[in-house]
Every structure is written in structure tokens, then in C-alpha cells.
Amino acid sequence: MEDENELIRRFQRGEERAFEEIVAMHRERVYGLAYRWTGNAEDALDLSQEAFLRLFRILPRWKPRAKLSTWLHRVVVNLAIDLSRRASRRRSIPLSEIREQGREAKMNVVSPGPGPRECAAGGEILERVRAAVDRLPERQRAVFVLRHYQGLSMREIAEALRCSVGCVKAHLFHALRRLRRELDPLQLGGKM
């Protein structure tokens, strides 16, 4: 496959078809990240296309200092966080319900949901894992998804999220501890 920088140069010379090759090069990773964040194909398509649209806008001025994949990961994470925030704003929860949830959380660290027996089916366990990942704070969630599912190195994650490697390590550690706390009662035993 042609070198990424050469494709960018071709695009900058006015050859817009080179953009299709760039998209083909990155689409699975970008779509995959969007899918893992949103959990559905429709939002993943929308989000990944929005990321490529932004790439199309910026490509004429692109300087080969950073890797396209790093930039795309950052854009997808930011778009996904925006989407999650918009979705949570739309979901208006009455104050009494929030108070009740807080009381339950104090009494039981594990969030309410089906117990281990109910989660015997693998699909349900996957759902619980997804829900636990969804509940992680934004930065922890981003670091966990990029490392665990996308396979990025900690240095690449630090570049994508514009923070230090130490910060990535700390977020990942807290994310893992939190996931363990939430998923322990499921007695995973290789079912996830």
C-alpha cells in the first residue's frame, strides 16, 4: 500500500481520489473505535464519517508532524465524548431519583443490575462489561478503550489525548480497579 505521506501529498496537489485511499487505510480502526464507544452501528457510522469529514477539511493544511491515526483517534474520542454528553443531557433524571441512586451506591458499591445467576448468558455478561466501561469517567474510559480494545501503546494514547504517559498509566490503573470493583460479583471466569 502506498505511503500515507505520499497519499497526503497527492491530495494536497488536488487529487481528491487519494482521500479515498486514506479513508480505506484508516476506516476499520476509526469505525471500530466509534462502534466500541457507541455500541451501535448507526452511531458508529455517523461518528466515523464526521471524523473523516474533519480530516478532509484539515488535510490541505496537514503537516506530516503527527500520524493521521493518532489524530483520528483523538477526533473520534472527542466526538464520542460530545455525543455521550449530549445523550446524557437529553436524559433528564428527576432529582429524587439521583438521590436514591446515591443512597444505593453508598450501601452497595456495585451498581444495581442483574446478579451473577442472571448474567449466566455470555451476551448478558458482555452487556454488563459494556455498561461498566460506559460508566467509567471520560478520560479513564478513553484510555481503557484505546489500550484494551484498540491496542494503542501508552505513548500513542498520550499523544492522542495530549497528556503525559504517566497520566495515561494512572488513568488506566484507576479504570482497571474500577472495572474490577464493578465486575467482581459476576465471577467472570472467562465468560467475558
Binding site: 473523516f52 477539511r57 474490577r180 467472570l188 467475558m192
Partner: protein, 191 residues
């Protein structure tokens, strides 16, 4: 290595990203510290058990459709934002620069800012009040100027005041359709 540092390095160790030297000192610490060792083992089993969720990727022709709808989205975005890919402030900056050049040229040619009798800056001379009243009377009186004629008269009055202030050269245009010498039928300047 202390516990605090060890716990920070555990995730990198579990994902195989810890440099050999650091990994060695972490292993030594884990052998000595049962709390960190337990922590490490429980996180190791978590990492190994959270399997990758299957992603439903578009297949074959669906990627073509994906690219097609991406092009459509790009086209729509171009209509919304305009075809120019230069930053929006650039044309405005160029226009401001050109205007500044004109103002400076006027300043240089006249040896100072053009001023009215009261000594105020008068870069945009207005037609005299008598002239405006005259045009208004002609418009509402017997002549009953149309809107277009009224605007022509006002423009002429403005030109007169610019000429009087020395800001407009009294140009004479050649006879005939002289623009044909400069522009082709399509309106493109001739070489």
C-alpha cells in the same frame, strides 16, 4: 520500588509495555509485597477475561456505500462552508490591506489627511445640503424621478463633492464599447 510506584506500573506491566529494567524491579517488589502481588494478579485476570467485543464492520459493497455517503456529506459541507479552503479571515484581511493601501496613497499624494474647512477629517465627503434638497424636490415635484433616477442623481452629487474635494480624478471615457477590448464574451479578461 515502593507500593505507590508499583501500582502505577502494574497496568503497563500487564499490557507488556514496561521496559525490562522496570519490569525486573516490579517483579522483585511483587515477590516481597503480598498486597501488590494480589492486586496485580486480580487485575491480570480482569485484563485477560475482558474479551474484545465483536464489532460489526460493514462488508464489501457496504464500504463503497460508506464512501459514497461520505462524499455526499463532504459535498454538503462544502456548500455550507463555501469552496474556499483558505481561512475565512484571509479575504477580509486582504480587503483591509487594500483599503489601508488606498488610504495611505491618498495621504501620501495629498501631503496629509484631507480636511474640511472646520479641520475635521473628511474622507467621505457628502453632497451639499442644498444639492440633496434640490434632488428631493425634483423627485417629489414635477419631474417625479423614479427610484433609479433618484439614486443616479444622488451618486452624481456624491461624485461632484468628491471632485470638489480632489479625491476623484475627472476621467473621460473613450467612445464606443471599450470594454470589449478588455474582456472576452465570457467575461474573462483578455491576455
Amino acid at each position: 520500588m515502593r507500593c505507590r510506584k508499583a501500582s502505577r506500573e502494574i497496568p503497563a506491566y500487564l499490557y507488556g509495555e514496561l521496559a525490562e529494567g522496570k519490569a525486573l524491579s516490579l517483579r522483585e517488589h511483587l515477590e516481597r509485597c503480598s498486597a501488590c502481588s494480589e492486586e496485580c494478579e486480580s487485575l491480570r485476570s480482569l485484563v485477560s477475561e475482558i474479551k474484545e467485543e465483536e464489532v460489526r464492520y460493514p462488508e464489501g459493497w457496504a464500504w463503497d456505500r460508506y464512501m459514497g455517503s461520505l462524499w455526499a456529506r463532504i459535498a454538503k459541507d462544502r456548500v455550507r462552508t463555501g469552496p474556499a479552503r483558505v481561512p475565512r479571515w484571509r479575504p477580509a484581511l486582504a480587503l483591509a490591506g487594500a483599503l489601508a493601501a488606498v488610504v495611505l496613497a491618498v495621504y501620501a499624494l495629498r501631503g496629509g489627511w484631507p480636511t474640511s474647512q472646520e479641520g475635521k477629517v473628511a474622507l467621505t465627503p457628502k453632497p451639499s445640503e442644498e444639492r440633496v434638497v434640490e434632488i428631493a424636490q425634483r423627485s417629489s415635484g414635477e419631474e417625479a424621478l423614479t427610484g433609479e433616477e433618484y439614486m443616479d442623481e444622488m451618486e452624481r452629487a456624491v461624485d461632484e463633492s468628491l471632485l470638489a474635494a480632489g479625491l476623484l480624478a475627472d476621467m473621460e471615457f473613450p467612445e464606443g464599447d471599450y470594454l470589449e477590448d478588455f474582456f472576452s464574451e465570457e467575461g474573462v479578461p483578455n491576455a
